[in-house]
């Protein structure tokens, strides 16, 4: 038998005994009902006392021990104690979990800020407080852009395009840089990650300066070498067996000059920010100029077509645009055999303006396409060395396009040719009417 059932039987027995005893005593003294009533009243009082003890203990259960009673009351108390203990156990587990979570986020080397849909601060960790100068008390519920006021960040937040982080200068103290990245989650909530990138930015600057300086320093000795090689090649008394090597040396010196020229151009592109505004560039005229350049090559594809479908002009930096487009056209010319064809296309639509160069060359294997714009990336080692490229052409294209808010798309089928397309956003187009007014 279970102890609870036992206790209930015992309680029922006791009630029965009380009734029998009361009735018996009453009958003895001649008043059965009075005796019964007295006995029941006693039983009720006794019950009330237990009820009081139970209630008192429940009220003070945090520091008082449970009353030591048996029977049904004892069973009830035991149940309550069990419930209580289980609840406390769960609560402790949650508190522990919370504390662990909090401690781990606090230990994160990056700052974390949680924002609600109104961009108000809900929570942040210690690192975020340090990096963004937030205060534990009072800053909760404030809008983030009221305290992090860097214009780049405010624009980034307003634009709502959180694919890439935004880098801002630290507001106070030593010159530093913070990288801020927003990750939306849940119901319009935002997670803001803050990283101190001062070291990376400084290293990057050092690297850039190094490349720029090294390129400049290499240029002057190379000019001397090229100069002497030219004189040597033109020397009529040169040994016949030296002519081959000297011609090769001249070719390589030219290649080196091209590499250095491109490196200097790249570091110049990296040094400055996005091109704002810019001059109108006549793409149609530029394209026909590039076509003539191709036809002027000693070996060139027979068919070089122009498909100019728009008279719209492009707003940008003319020399840069020229450099990017001529790199694309040069590449096409280099990799397309004489019997192949090149098509240069310029058109506008709702998405903006597009400049595409299509060739019928050997094509690029798909796995190489994502890495084509890396510096000195070679699809295969022999290929571009033979054609004398610097290996920096597409890197320059990428940088120029980036500075104009444009993107490069590459489509290629191995063996049948490639298409390189530059997509410019609509705000870079000078519409025809305005272009006509500008030239008038």
């Amino acid at each position: 038998m279970q102890p609870a059932t036992q206790a209930w039987l015992f309680a029922a027995g006791r009630l029965l005994a009380t009734v029998v005893f009361g009735a018996g005593a009453g009958w003895l003294f001649g008043n059965l009902w009075l005796g019964l009533a007295c006995a029941l009243a006693l039983h009720l009082t006794w019950m009330l006392v237990y009820l009081f003890r139970l209630e008192w203990w429940l009220r003070h259960r945090n520091y008082a021990d449970p009353p030591d009673v048996g029977g049904v009351w004892g069973e009830i108390i035991a149940q309550v104690v069990r419930l209580h203990r289980r609840k406390r156990f769960h609560k402790q587990r949650f508190v522990q979990l919370m504390r662990q979570l909090q401690r781990s986020t606090a230990a994160l080397p990056d700052g974390v800020v949680i924002l609600n849909a109104q961009r108000e601060i809900v929570w942040f960790n210690r690192m975020a407080a340090r990096l963004l100068n937030l205060r534990r008390t009072g800053d909760l519920g404030m809008r983030i852009e009221h305290l992090v006021r860097a214009p780049e960040f405010v624009r980034y937040l307003a634009a709502g395009d959180f694919a890439n982080p935004v880098v801002v200068r630290t507001a106070t103290g030593e010159d530093g840089f913070l990288s801020l990245q927003v990750a939306p989650y849940g119901d319009g909530q935002l997670l803001l990650l803050v990283r101190d990138v001062s070291r990376q930015i400084r290293l990057e600057a050092v690297r850039r300066d190094f490349v720029a300086n090294a390129s400049h320093e290499l240029r002057s000795p190379l000019t001397v070498i090229s100069g002497y090689l030219e004189t040597l090649a033109a020397d009529p008394v040169l040994d016949a067996e030296l002519q081959g090597p000297i011609a090769e040396m001249r070719r390589q010196a030219e290649r080196m000059t091209a590499i250095i020229r491109d490196l200097i151009e790249l570091s110049r592109l990296e040094e400055t920010d996005e091109v704002v505004g810019g001059e109108p560039v006549d793409v149609a005229a530029l394209a026909s100029l590039l076509r003539k350049d191709v036809l002027a090559r000693p070996v060139h594809p027979r068919d070089v077509r122009l498909r100019i479908e728009s008279a719209a002009q492009l707003l940008g930096d003319e020399p840069e645009i020229h450099s990017a487009f001529s790199n694309l056209v040069d590449n096409a010319a280099k990799y397309t055999p004489a019997e192949g064809s090149i098509e240069i296309r310029w058109w506008t639509d709702a998405d903006g303006a597009h400049f595409a160069v299509t060739d019928t060359g050997m094509g690029v294997p798909a796995e190489h396409i994502p890495r084509l714009t890396e510096r000195f990336y070679r699809v295969d080692a022999g290929r571009s060395r033979a054609t004398g490229g610097s290996g920096l052409g597409l890197a320059i294209v990428k940088h120029v396009l980036q500075r104009h808010g444009a993107t490069l798309e590459v489509e290629s089928t191995l063996g049948s040719g490639s298409t390189f397309t530059c997509h410019f956003p609509p705000e870079r187009i000078l519409p025809v009417a305005r272009a006509a007014a500008a030239t008038a």
Binding site: N133, R135, G138, D139, M142, R143, E145, H146, L147, R149, A150, P151, V154, R169, A171, T172
Partner: protein, 246 residues
């Protein structure tokens, strides 16, 4: 019941309007802060194109001021705010004026920086200006923080800092005079430098003004032309402490 709902509705709309204007003010503040830092960097590092871009971008600050000013007028006309709300609007109108002036001073520094970049740089590489520039930009930053947080304590601290800027200004002035006497060929450069230091000192004053508006906004006390110690004593007195911040 209906009127209560309506007034609630109106006050909510009003709060949104107010919050939007406050955001714009702080956005303008952020831009001005950046302009100032860029101008100082341009000067210290001799970057003439950066200095030029600061001078060219100043019109954006002016546009922001006009826009916020218009919005404030609209709020005053349509909502007729009273008490604390009115103080906020008044403080905003004054704050943007000071921010615009800071922008103008920044423009001046940027312009001078682009001119000085072509000249020979002094041996100390404008160390004093760099230091003063940092103090002043931090003052502007802290004043705007105080504005965002409605934080009287920080505002008072900014207001106190102005004295330090004034002292520094005096010191650089004395030093420049010494340089000019030692070598008259540097007078042209030293005069330009004096303009920059003067501009920085003015920016410090504007930052102080902004922090004074914060105190006005929160406590409804105009503390201009009052000694700071008196202000602090008054704000800390129990009679005032009981007054809830607006």
């Amino acid at each position: 019941m209906e009127t209560a709902d309506l007034s609630h509705h109106i006050s909510r709309r009003f709060n949104e309007d107010l919050e939007r204007v406050r955001s714009k003010v702080l956005g303008m503040g952020g831009f001005v802060e950046q302009q100032l830092r860029k101008a100082i960097t341009a000067l210290v590092e001799g970057d003439s194109s950066l200095g030029e871009s600061v001078a060219l971008d100043d019109h954006q600050v002016n546009n922001m001021e006009v826009m916020i000013d218009e919005e404030c007028s609209k709020i005053l006309a349509t909502r007729a705010p009273a008490a604390g709300d009115l103080r906020v609007i008044v403080a905003i109108i004054k704050t943007i004026t000071d921010l615009e002036r800071i922008g103008d001073e920044g423009e001046k520094i940027g312009y001078i920086a682009s001119r000085l970049a072509t000249m020979e740089r002094p041996a100390d590489k404008y160390r004093e200006i760099k230091h003063l520039g940092r103090v002043v930009s931090e003052m502007v930053h802290d004043a705007l923080d105080a504005f965002a947080r409605m934080d009287v304590e920080s505002a008072l601290r900014v207001a106190r800092q102005d004295r330090l800027v004034d002292e520094e200004y005096e010191a650089i002035q004395r030093q420049s005079i010494t340089f000019m006497m030692e070598d008259p060929r540097t007078i042209r450069r030293a005069l330009d430098v004096m303009w920059v230091v003067r501009a920085l000192e003015r920016i410090g004053d504007h930052a102080k003004n902004i922090s004074e508006y914060v105190i006005y906004m929160v406590h409804g006390k105009d503390i201009r032309h009052t000694s700071l110690d008196d202000v602090e004593r008054e704000l800390r007195s129990p009679a005032n402490g009981a007054q809830p911040p607006a």
